[in-house]
């Protein structure tokens, strides 16, 4: 099957049907950056790239694609270029998991989240407890005690009432476990084919009783970076539950309310608490990138210290995806002052959800705004925001 001839460049005119076009978008992109001097040193090029990355993001696509919902770079670009642009205000611009607002003397946290998981029922949970825990956790990582939730349902014509009851019962159980009440709601039904069974949106408010203010920008060099347990369980469980991959693994979703866990961390950290985040869509890697960008620190992660279950690692390896990007639904990422590391670890490990907690890295000062991974193999690399979907690779 080997070819005898070598390369035959420059056959453009005789080959194909003679139709040759230019890629308009590509020419435009080149023209936008034209005039850039041809830099000779790698350092200069790296600086130019960081400058380009700091520019206000632009949405190039004419339509929404699935990548816009994957939690990576495209999602961030869409949010910043469309929503932040339209709604601009100081609270929203912080882009935390929830909003911290003040009403009179009351320090509140407010958040919302929509759930479109498929399948609706999966090992370890379903769309119902996911919807409650997701909003509870967003409030918890704002440093708030979750109080009241709303629930909105978009149902597809033909969806079995028995399944709806099952979802509702699961929500009720999750709310009771988290100590919140679902106090208001909304129901809409759309024609068959216009939704995928059942979509749920929850919103929630909580009260911030501690004086601490948490934000991704507060991380500073020397701080410790902690995760509360093994990562990637939820994402891998759901991917396998879809049944498209013909892989079986003994793994269940980690969906759980983290209000107690978060409170424990905050009590142990005191004024040394800097950032708390719920590592959902986009996984731990996405959170760490947000922290690095906001704080302009370097987040340095030790790969060997990152807890990942054997089953999750195996499935991720087969699919060619990195567990660092896989969603969790009951894991928090904490950045704390190094003097509080041991106290926080003790508090985490005292709670059933935090038994597998680990210090996975620290905040450094260089290179600013990047997440570096010291690989278990002994090398160093960047952990960047994911571009597009975390799709399985073919070879």
């Amino acid at each position: 099957m080997s070819a005898r001839d070598g390369i035959t460049n420059g056959m453009t005119d005789e080959i194909g049907n003679g139709t040759e076009r230019r890629a308009g978008w590509a020419e435009e992109a080149v023209a936008t950056h034209a005039g850039a001097e041809h830099l000779r040193s790698e350092e200069q090029v790296l600086e130019r790239i960081e400058r380009a990355r700091r520019r206000r993001p632009r949405v190039r696509e004419q339509r929404v694609t699935l990548a816009h919902g994957a939690g990576g770079k495209a999602t961030q670009t869409l949010i910043e270029a469309v929503f932040v642009e339209a709604f601009r205000n100081p609270v929203l611009e912080q882009l935390e998991d929830g909003a911290s607002v003040q009403v009179g003397d009351a320090r509140l946290a407010f958040t919302t989240d929509s759930f479109v998981v498929s399948p609706l029922f999966f090992p370890g949970g379903d769309i119902g407890d996911l919807a409650v825990n997701g909003t509870v956790n967003d409030l918890a990582v704002c440093g708030a005690r979750p109080l009241h939730l709303s629930a909105g349902f978009i149902l597809e014509e033909g969806f079995p009432i028995a399944d709806l009851r099952r979802v509702a019962a699961s929500m009720a159980r999750a709310a009771a476990a988290a100590g919140v009440t679902i106090v208001t709601g909304d129901t809409k039904v759309v024609r068959r084919g216009q939704a995928d069974g059942c979509f749920v949106t929850t919103a929630g408010i909580g009260v911030r009783e501690r004086a601490v203010t948490l934000s991704a920008g507060a991380a500073r060099p020397g701080d410790a970076v902690i995760v509360s347990g093994p990562i990637g369980d939820h994402g891998v469980t759901v991917m396998l539950a879809r049944g498209e991959l013909d892989i079986e693994a003994d793994v269940v979703s980690d969906t759980a309310p983290m209000h107690e866990l978060a409170a424990g961390v905050l009590d142990a950290a005191g004024d040394g608490a800097r950032v708390l985040r719920d590592a959902t869509r986009g996984g731990v890697a996405t959170i760490l990138n947000e922290i690095a960008t906001a704080s302009q620190g370097a987040i340095v992660v030790d790969e060997a210290a990152v807890p990942v279950r054997e089953e999750v690692n195996g499935a991720a390896e087969l699919l060619g995806i990195d567990p660092l990007y896989v969603a969790c639904e009951g894991r928090l990422v904490a950045v704390v002052d190094p003097s509080r590391t041991e106290a926080v670890m003790t508090a985490l490990r005292a709670h059933p959800l935090g038994e597998g907690a680990a210090v996975i890295g620290h905040v450094g000062d260089d290179p600013p705004g990047l997440v570096l991974l010291r690989t278990a193999f002994g090398g160093t690399r960047i952990v960047d925001l994911l571009v597009g979907d975390p799709l399985p690779r073919i070879c």
Binding site: E27, A52, A305, E310, V387, I394
Partner: protein, 386 residues
């Protein structure tokens, strides 16, 4: 993880690195090309270059199937997907590959029925389930994936399915390596041979590289220690004054390849006279098409394919990067006009491409990091989970 962690052990890597360093002749520089994109990915993902002496440079070759797909073929596929009643199916990596007017993701958002599959057999399942639709499989890849496409066509023929076809874009590795060897700017001291392709074609087809071009080649596995070991074997050959084809990946690659897989490819496909590669241009006899006998499963015969050619922007220097003449960061548009979100050239498309791997994993100053605050974390002990 069993059978994986053994191939990623840092202490073994350090020991091997020391032996590689001993083989370096002071003042001499070495450049080895890893042909396969899977190797490029491993090298960056594990930070393998930190183990190599500065005098050894790894050059990232053209072996990433989605990277080398010209924009015109993407446009052709999107045109097929736009025909009435068509369901286009493709591997996940194909979804973001840009054409002249956007990617599969964009076409899907605009209304085309494009579905991700994990195997061509899944596409066949869709065809059985939708007899009223015309299901097309976007077949891409080197000899690694060609046998599964061919098997699927044979099965469709056996079942008498009439609504299934493949849009064949399979390419072959040897002509691409030849194109690089024939390039006047070639500055390579040896090759890391593609592991997965070699499970099908074996190691014999590489013998001309050592015999006629005087470059040693070691067929390498995909774990970081495989690659480090293969670099060691190349250095050993140079040190001993040998120039041979060696098989480091013998736990998977049979020297003579997989005869059955080759037969299946040969039954269904034949070489095209020429095919366009992004960044490398037209290479004769470098790709496969469906044979006449299976014409009814060939999307190029079933549909009116426009046969579009889309020119790469002039600023794009992928050809030079693929041949190792330029480092990714030396390209004029690297990281500004050309990024993983809006890849202009082939090497930025998938994480197996040289530029995307460098952008995603290696975009930092190693010298500054070594000197700075990025040392190991106090208290960060390796974890053991049950």
């Amino acid at each position: 993880m069993k059978f994986v962690d053994e191939f990623r052990d840092a202490d073994t890597a350090r020991a091997l690195a020391a032996r590689i360093a001993e083989l370096c002749v002071p003042g001499r520089r070495y450049a080895f090309m890893e042909v396969c994109g899977g190797h490029t990915h491993t090298i960056y993902k594990h930070g393998l270059e930190d183990h190599l002496p500065e005098s050894i440079r790894l050059v990232h070759g053209p072996g990433c199937p989605v990277c080398v797909l010209p924009m015109g073929r993407v446009d052709d596929a999107i045109a097929i997907a736009g025909e009435p009643d068509v369901i286009m199916t493709a591997f996940g990596d194909m979804m973001r590959v840009p054409g002249g007017d956007g990617s599969f993701f964009d076409a899907k958002a605009a209304g085309a029925d494009i579905r991700m599959v994990y195997s061509p057999l899944d596409a066949l399942k869709i065809a059985r389930a939708h007899p009223d639709k015309r299901v097309v499989f976007m077949a891409i890849g080197f000899e690694t994936t060609a046998p599964s496409t061919a098997m699927t066509v044979l099965r469709a023929a056996r079942e008498g399915l009439e609504n299934f076809s493949v849009f064949c874009n399979h390419v072959t590795i040897i002509p691409a390596i030849k194109a690089i060897l024939d390039s006047p700017d070639l500055r390579l001291d040896g090759f890391l041979g593609p592991g997965h392709v070699s499970t099908v074609i074996g190691c014999r087809p590489y013998e001309f590289i050592a015999a006629r071009h005087g470059k040693p080649l070691v067929t390498a596995g995909f774990e970081p220690l495989d690659i480090l070991q293969s670099v060691y074997q190349l250095m050993r050959q140079l040190h001993d004054g040998r120039c041979e084809v060696e098989n480091q990946y013998s736990r998977v690659v049979p020297w003579a390849g997989n005869r059955r897989a080759l037969e299946v490819i040969g039954e269904v496909m034949e070489l095209r006279p020429y095919f366009e590669w992004r960044g490398l241009g037209f290479i004769s006899q470098s790709a496969m098409q469906v044979r006449e006998a299976y014409a009814r499963f060939d999307a190029e015969r079933v549909f009116a394919v426009p046969g579009v050619r889309v020119a790469d922007p002039k600023a794009c220097q992928c050809g030079e990067v693929l041949k190792g003449v330029l480092e990714p960061w030396e390209c004029k548009v690297f990281g500004t006009a050309c990024t993983p979100e809006t890849p202009i050239g082939t090497c930025m498309v998938s994480s197996e491409g040289a530029c995307a791997a460098y952008y995603n994993f290696g975009r930092f100053s190693r010298s500054r990091v070594r000197a700075g605050s990025a040392g190991p974390t106090p208290l960060a002990d390796p974890v053991v989970l049950r």
